[in-house]
Amino acid sequence: MMLRLNLTLLVSLIASALYLVQVQYESRRLYTEIERAHAEARKLEIDRERLQVDKRAQATSARVEKLAREQLHMRPATPAITQYVTLKGVAQERAQ
C-alpha cells in the first residue's frame, strides 16, 4: 500500500517537474516573442517620428513659399484681391 502511494507520488513528481521545465521554456519563448514585438513597436514609433519630421521639413513655410513662387508662379494674397464674407451668425455675435 505504502509502496503504491510512494510510486504514485514519484511518478507525479517527475511529471510535474517535466511540466515545470516545459512551462519555463514556453514562458521564456513567449517573453522573447513579446520583447521582439516591443522592439518592433519602438522601431515603428521611431520611424513614425522620423517620417513626421520629414513631412514637416517638406512643408515648412520657407519651402512652400519658394515652390509657390518659383514653380507655380503664385503671389501672396492682398486685401485688394480678396473677397471678405461675413457669416450672419458671426456678424450677430460680433454686434453683441
Binding site: 521611431i46 517620428e49 519630421v53 521639413a57 515648412t60 520657407a62 486685401p79
Partner: protein, 580 residues
Amino acid sequence: MSGRVVAYSSSPLLASRTPVWRSKFIVAGIALGFVALAGRAAWVQVFGNEFYRKQGEVRFARTLELPANRGRIFDRNGLLLATSVPVPSIWAIPEDVEQGRDKAKLAQLAKLLQLPLPELMKKLEEDERNFVWIKRQVDESTARQVAALDIKGIYQRKEYRRQYPEGEAAAHVVGFTSIEDHGQEGVELAFDKALAGKPGSRRVIKDRLGRIVEDVREQVPPLDGKDLQLSIDSKVQFFAYQQLRDAVVANKAKAGSVVVLDVHTGEVLALANYPSYSPSNRQNLTGAQLRNRALTDSFEPGSTMKPFAVSLALEKGLVKPDTLIPTAPGRITLAGSTISDSHAHGDLTVTQVIQKSSNVGTVRVAMQLQPREMWELYTQVGFGQRPQVPFPGTVSGKLRAWKTWRPIEQATMSYGYGVATSLFQLARAYTVFARDGELVPVTLLKTDQAAPGIRVLRPEIAQEMREMLHLVTLSGGTAPKAQTMGYSVGGKTGTAHKQEGRGYAEHKYRGVFVGIAPIDQPRIVVAVMIDEPSAGRYFGGDVAAPVFSATVQQTLRMLGVQPDMNVKPQIVVQAVEESI
C-alpha cells in the same frame, strides 16, 4: 596464438582469497567521496551561496537603460519646431580592431565618414580605453554602408538627435541642444528641465543568443519629457524673418530684429533676428549669429520713446492733443546743451509733435513733468525691468533712478536718449497704447485666454495717442511706408545715433519702428529694429517701416483679421525727415 584456453569459471584467480581491507578501503573511499560532495554542496548552497548567485547573475543578467524621449516643441498650431529622432553613431573597441588586416577597410571607413585617415587611426591608437566614439550622429545611409563593411571592433548605437524643421527662421526662439541632449540656447535651454525627462531602467535575463527571456525585477519606466507648445506661429515667424532678412541685406545693415506680439493674449507670435544660423549645422558659428538681439541687446530707442512722455503729459492734463507748442527755431538750449530738430517747424500741436517727431516739441512738453512721474511711467511700462520671459540672457535695459536725473537728462530721456531698452521691452511697452492703457504680460507659451492687463494710462489717453500714432503713418508723418493695404496702422519711428565708447558715432544709426495694427481695434504690436543700415537710407521710417508694413500685412491676413479700410491703390506720399 598459442597456449591453453582456460574457462572463466575455472580461473584460479577467482579462487584466490582477497584480503578484507581492500573492500573496506574501497567502501571508505567512496564514502569519503560522498562526504566531499556533500561538503561542497553545502558550501555552494549555504555558505558561499551569495557569491555564486552573483557570479551567475553577472553572466546572464543585464541592466538595460530605457532612454526617455526629450519633449517635443510645437508652435501654436501644433506644427513641429523641434523633436528628437534616434540616429546611428559609430563607436569602436580599439583593442579589437585589427589594423594590419583591415587596413583597406579602415581607409574606406574614413572616406565614408569624411574623416581624415590619420585622425581615425589616432582614435584607434588609444589602446587603454575600450570605448571610443568614431563619429557621432551620422545619417542612416552612411550607417548602413559602414555596417556593410563589417569591420571587427567597429560598432553602432542609436543616439537621439534634435531635428529643427523650421531651421534658421526660428533658431533664436527654439535654440538647440548639445550632442548629449542638454539644452544650450533658447527655449531648449529655458525649459530644459521640463523637456528632458528621466530615463528608466530594467533588469533582465538574457539567453545565449542575447534575447531577453525574463525580467528579474519590476521595470522602472522612463519618464518622457513634457511637450511644449509655444505661442510662436511658425508662418508669422517665417514671414517676419524673411522680411527682416531682406531688409537687412538690402540696407547693408549689420543686423536686425523683429518682434510680433498678440495684443489680446500677450503671446509672442514671432521673434526673429538676423543674422541667424541653421540649428542642425552649427559649425563655425559666430557670436553675432547666435545672439538673440531682440532680448539680449539693449539700445537707446530714440524717438520711439516720445509717445510715453507725451501721453503722460496728456494724462496729467498738462497739454491737450491740439495744444500749440512752439518749436521754432528748431533748437532749444537747456543747461548749456542744445537740442535740435532736423527741420525747423514753427508752432506745432502736440499731435504734430508726435507725427513729425519733433525733439524740441517733445522736450517742451516733457519738461512740464516731474522726473519722478516720468520715471514711474517708464518703470510701469517695463523699461529698466527684466521682461518676465524665461529666456537665457534677457536684459533689463537701463533706466536710472529719478533722483539722479539732471534736467538735461530728463529732456533727452523724453526722446529716447540716456535710457536703454531691448526691442522686446519696447514692443511690450507699446501694448499700453494698443490695449487702451493696459500693459499686457507677455508669454512665450500658448494660452487661449485674454491676459489681464495692468492699467497704466486712462483709456481715452491711449486712444488719443493711437490717433497720433496713426497720423505718423499718413501723409505728413515720418513713416508713410508703414502703411499696409486694407489695414489701418499706427506707430512711431525712431532713428538713433549709435553709442560708441563714450560718445555717439557720427554715421552709425539704428532705425526702429514700433507700431500697432489695426489702429481702431488693435490686434498686434510689431517692433522692428535695423542695426547700422549703410546703404544710404537710415531713417526708421525708411528702413524699419517697410518691414513693419509687410509683417503686419501677412500676420493679420493669417490671423484672419478683416481689413478695416477700403482697399484702393495706395500712393506713397512724400515723407518728412524725422529728427535724430
